[in-house]
């Protein structure tokens, strides 16, 4: 029976149920159990087009299950369960409804077999997710949420335009591999690119994720961007430009992350950098590279969530999230600190942690396809990842100088959620075969070769060593209260100013113009009133003689006209 229901609908039903079930344990439990059921469903579904619908004259495929969509669907369900477990304490209907709708939309999009369905779910993720930001209920979050929504929906409408163009051109709405060329495909590519945080289109991510609620960020971090990665992998695998886009994505966020003060923004930059690896994998486009992308998305969702969870737990306990205000929290929150370290190790791709076995696939493929510079950039980025996610997050949150705060350990449900996630990070790291087994294509790769392990350890340990040297000599950038401008300055500062100036100019022109015509109209009316008003000469009672004169004139004119013609 479960087979006939698209997985997304399970989540939507969950969202509606959450509204009906009273706040508290029952609702929280519901939110954890149903994603697990969904995960089981995804796991057991046969491959194929399971829910074809003819709708609006279009042939829609609501459930296209194949190996690529299954692996993404699976991890989405899993992280939905973990995220909701982490959010067990919540008593906020908005978030508890928005989160399932968001997750459901993302999963629906993953299983969408056609572009129209994809578009609907694509917009669904945009709308549902903004509530996770607004739920912070502050003016800043409200404004950020609006910006986020406009950009996300903007991606959606561009996608729609692209689909329409493609449809007009080919008459097909199938969601399969596309070749860049026509305006339609470029639109679709661009739409995917926005959600995937391509360079210069990326800033919504760092803008929005730190603004969300504690639990909201955890949920947000999993879906939107990875959905975009999936969409790219499905539609644009092997598109060469992606390799370079990806490479740049891996590089520039590193520097921002290093100097950013807000820990959740650091993680957002880090997320962006990790996306770069996946995008490179898509760009390379070989089966193994796509495997690498899928695997990396899978493990990245887990460890990024884990990091956001641990930072979120700190925020939950202290109300603070800025590096300059944190430090020394390992004393009272040792478990959280440990889980954070697991996450950090995973993202830094230490051997035996999940990042190691996934990233390797991509690096290997980049090298195998002779993209030397890109490969160099990726290795460089791997060291860079260590600098912010591997070191900065755990070190400045839990160690470094003592902030003096002695908060309680994270609540139990958070610890459980983090524990499970941390366990998965390690489990996958230790038993890569389990993940490799569910990847889209057959995997013939062994991460644990001596050369690979040693090489990776050398890279990371010497980077650590460099950190030690720089930190001990005081050359490491200090954690200070500040923000850094990124491309968001364009739409947060420049664009409003330009609009403001333009609006004032237009308004001035309009006023002048309107004023001019108003005065003219007024003059005409006055003139008309002077001549035609009750006292005007046209309406005055004329003496009889004047009337007779008129008769004479008219007669004369008439005679003249008649005689002349």
């Amino acid at each position: 029976m479960l087979e006939s229901i698209p997985t997304a609908f399970l989540f939507f039903a969950m969202g509606l149920l959450a509204m009906a079930v009273p706040k508290g344990a029952a609702r929280s439990a519901l939110l954890v159990v149903i994603p697990l059921i969904a995960a089981w469903q995804v796991w057991t579904l046969p491959e194929g087009n399971l829910a074809p619908v003819t709708f609006f004259g279009l042939d829609l495929e609501l459930m296209r299950v194949d190996r690529l969509s299954r692996v993404f669907g699976l991890i989405f369900c899993l992280i939905a369960a973990l995220g909701n477990l982490y959010a067990w304490h919540l008593k906020d209907t908005v978030q508890q409804v928005a989160a399932p709708l968001y997750a459901g939309s993302a999963i629906g999009a993953v299983f969408a077999g056609d572009l129209v369905t994809l578009f609907f779910y694509w917009e669904g993720t945009a709308i549902a997710s903004v509530f996770l930001i607004w739920a912070r209920r502050t003016l800043g979050a409200y404004n950020t949420g609006l910006r986020y929504l406009i950009i996300q929906v903007g991606s959606g409408v561009i996608l729609m335009a692209g689909i329409a163009l493609l449809y007009a051109e080919t008459g097909s709405i199938a969601f399969d591999r596309m070749t860049l060329g026509s305006l339609g495909t470029w639109c679709i590519f661009f739409a995917f690119g926005i959600k995937c945080a391509f360079p210069l289109l990326h800033n919504w991510l760092q803008d929005a994720y730190p603004a969300a609620t504690i639990t909201g960020t955890v949920v947000l971090s999993a879906f939107t961007t990875k959905l975009a990665v999936y969409a790219l992998a499905r539609g644009f695998a092997g598109t060469e430009i992606l390799i370079y886009i990806g490479a740049i994505m891996t590089l520039f966020p590193i520097f921002f992350a290093e100097i950013e003060n807000d820990m959740r923004r650091v993680l957002s930059y880090s997320l962006n950098n990790q996306l770069g690896f996946m995008v490179v994998g898509i760009g390379v486009g070989s089966e193994m590279a796509l495997n690498g992308t899928a695997a990396h998305a899978f493990v990245h969702i887990l460890y990024k969530a884990l990091l956001f969870m641990s930072v979120g737990a700190v925020l939950y306990r202290t109300g603070k999230v800025k590096a300059s205000e944190l430090g020394g929290l390992y004393r009272t929150m040792p478990l959280t600190a440990t889980f954070c370290l697991v996450g950090a190790a995973s993202i830094s791709a230490f051997p035996l942690f999940s990042g190691f076995i996934a990233k390797a696939l991509i690096l290997d493929q980049a090298a195998a396809h002779h993209h030397a510079i890109v490969w160099g950039a990726l290795v460089f980025a791997s060291a860079g990842v260590l600098s912010h996610s591997g070191i900065k997050i755990p070190f400045f949150t839990f160690f470094a100088h003592d902030s003096g705060m002695r908060p309680k350990e994270a609540p139990t449900h958070m610890l459980i959620a983090m524990g499970i996630t941390a366990f998965l990070c390690i489990f996958i790291g230790v038993f890569p075969g389990t993940l490799y087994a569910i990847l889209p294509y057959e995997v013939d790769y062994h991460p644990y070769t001596a050369a690979h392990v040693v090489g990776q350890l050398l890279l990371l340990c010497f980077a650590l060593l460099a950190f030690g040297v720089l930190y001990r000599t005081g050359r490491h950038p200090a954690e200070i209260r500040c923000i850094n401008v990124d491309s968001d300055v364009i739409y947060r500062k420049a664009a409003p100013s330009v609009v403001h100036i333009a609006a004032r100019a237009i308004s001035a022109i309009w006023q002048a113009h309107a004023g001019f015509w108003m005065r003219k109209t007024d003059l005409v009316l006055r003139g008309l009133y002077a001549s035609h008003g009750p006292e005007g000469r046209m309406a005055r009672v004329w003496p009889t003689g004047a009337m007779v004169l008129w008769i004479a004139i008219l007669l004369g004119v008439t005679l003249a006209v008649i005689f002349v013609t």
Binding site: G57, M160, L165
Partner: protein
């Protein structure tokens, strides 16, 4: 019963409501009860017409000669039937809402109000079922006149001023331009009947076509094409039910409906496409879409903002016609229904906020969402539908319009529609965002909705916005004859 009788009943019952309101003006319950019954009856009659004709176009039935060769005649065709269904269905809802609002807000002259409402609906039915341009024009003007007292309802200097603008633009454009266009058409084509494929082809050519189209486009002032849009914001002085039904559904939709009728049945979309006569109109509509959206953003008064939003949305429909592709026309037709549902929801919510919390300015609504969750929830759904987001009805009409633009090769129009969506977000969602997610001590307190009849109707229409998402395909199949192809080949096949 044959169709013409039903059409006459559909026009007679609302008119009858005007009479009963006059007779029973001093017994509110009886008066409103009878009107409600008549509203339901009207809707049922239109449904009956639908059950008889489906999306067939029936033969016109002439009642009498308005002018030699131009009878007062009616028939049923898909576009008109859709319009009639939407208007009569929403009349029932709005009437319920109107009762709640007028009583909750202690408005005076309620009998006169509902009486004029009845006449307006009656003329809407006339517009919907008119089988020639002159008949349509007759009811078009009756609609203007019957809604004038509704706009001037409060009798304040402000209301009088608003009503004056309302009347002068609507009557002015219709007489100066539309009438000229109609007479010209008559002189050129020798007929004013609505015929699929148009009546002008072969009778006129060259730039004259564009001029004639211009006379129509601007002459149909109710379509609020810039620069003749000012009446719509001016009409916002009216009580909210008026704004809801008339300025979200009946009047403005009569305008764009006429626009579509002119495009499809007078000019014919193929003729427009061949001559390119509607190209300028397309650009103007695009300008209207964007400019009105930008103005909407600057308005703090909720109803004024919604009014400009309406101006913008109406131009979608005009744009759909001006694209001169089947998809564009279908999108325009579909948008009549979709926008009606969405916008009526928004207006009714605005009224509910006014009745419940006495707030009309957006800046004062901060935090109200928690006090009036149903109202604001309905507003959110309506807003999302207007923006064109799934899973709400508005997304389909926008999809068709974009496909239409793609078919026509007008990529810039696609961009316009896209940007407009984003602008819609920027001016509609802040209301919800502020309402739910920011707080203001002035608006704190326990949940306190407006009276039941004020919040239930918008909640219902909001639910309808959601429901039509799933029935949009049926509506498009229903409309398909106007695009010149059979029902089975509608959206699935591109041009």
């Amino acid at each position: 019963m044959n169709v013409i009788d039903l059409i006459l009943y559909a026009m007679a019952f609302p008119a009858l409501a005007a009479v009963t309101n006059g007779i029973f003006r001093n017994s509110p319950n009886l008066r409103d009860g009878i009107t409600l019954a008549l509203a339901v009856l009207t809707f049922l009659i239109v449904v009956t017409i639908y059950s008889i004709t489906g999306n067939e176009t029936t033969e016109p039935v002439a009642l009498l000669d308005m002018l030699p060769g131009v009878p007062l005649a009616f028939n049923v065709e898909p576009l008109g039937l859709l319009f009639a269904l939407v208007a009569s269905g929403l009349w029932v809802v709005t009437h319920l809402y109107g009762i709640g609002y007028m009583r909750g807000h202690h408005e005076g002259h309620q009998a006169r109000f509902f009486a004029c409402f009845g006449i307006a609906i009656s003329s809407v039915m006339g517009i919907a079922f008119a089988s020639n341009m002159l008949t349509l024009f007759l009811f078009y003007e009756v609609l203007t006149l019957s809604t004038y007292p509704l706009v001037a309802h409060h009798g304040t200097p402000e209301a009088i001023r608003g009503a004056r603008i309302y009347l002068s633009i609507l009557i002015g454009t219709s007489i100066a331009l539309q009438l000229t266009a109609i007479v010209w058409t008559w002189v050129l084509a020798g007929t004013l009947d609505f015929r699929l494929g148009g009546i002008l082809e072969g009778h006129v050519a060259g730039p004259i076509v564009a001029v004639l189209l211009g006379l129509y486009a601007f002459g149909i002032g109710k379509a609020a094409l810039m620069p003749f849009h000012r009446w719509l914001p001016a009409a916002m002085v009216a009580p909210t039910p008026v704004s809801a039904l008339l300025h979200a559904v009946a009047v403005v939709k009569a305008g764009v409906f006429t626009m579509l009728k002119v495009g499809v049945y007078i000019f014919g979309i193929d003729f427009l496409a061949q001559t390119g006569a509607s190209e300028w109109l397309m650009w103007l509509a695009a300008f209207s879409i964007l400019a009105a959206s930008i103005v909407a953003m600057t308005k703090d008064n909720l109803k004024a903002r919604l009014a400009y939003s309406t101006v913008s949305q109406l131009s979608y429909i005009t744009l759909g016609m001006a694209l001169a592709t089947s998809m564009g026309v279908l999108g325009g037709g579909l948008h009549i229904a979709m926008h009606a549902l969405g916008k009526i929801t928004l207006f009714m919510c605005a009224g509910a906020i006014l009745v419940g919390a006495h707030k009309s300015e957006i800046s004062q609504m901060t935090g109200l969402g928690r006090v009036m969750p149903i109202t604001f929830g309905a507003f959110l759904i309506g807003a999302l539908s207007i923006i064109g987001l799934p899973p709400l009805g508005g997304s389909w009409s926008k999809w068709l319009l974009i496909v239409g633009a793609a078919d026509a090769g007008q990529q810039i129009m696609i961009a316009v529609l896209m940007i407009s969506s984003l602008l819609n977000i920027a001016y509609l969602l802040p209301i919800v965002g502020r309402g739910f997610f920011l707080s203001d001590p002035a608006n704190a307190g326990p949940v306190k909705e407006a009276p039941f009849l004020c919040w239930a109707p918008p909640a219902f229409t909001a639910a309808c916005c959601l429901a039509v998402f799933f029935y949009a395909g049926d509506i498009v199949d229903f409309l398909s004859p106007i695009a010149g192809h059979g029902p089975e080949t509608v959206a699935g096949v591109s041009e």
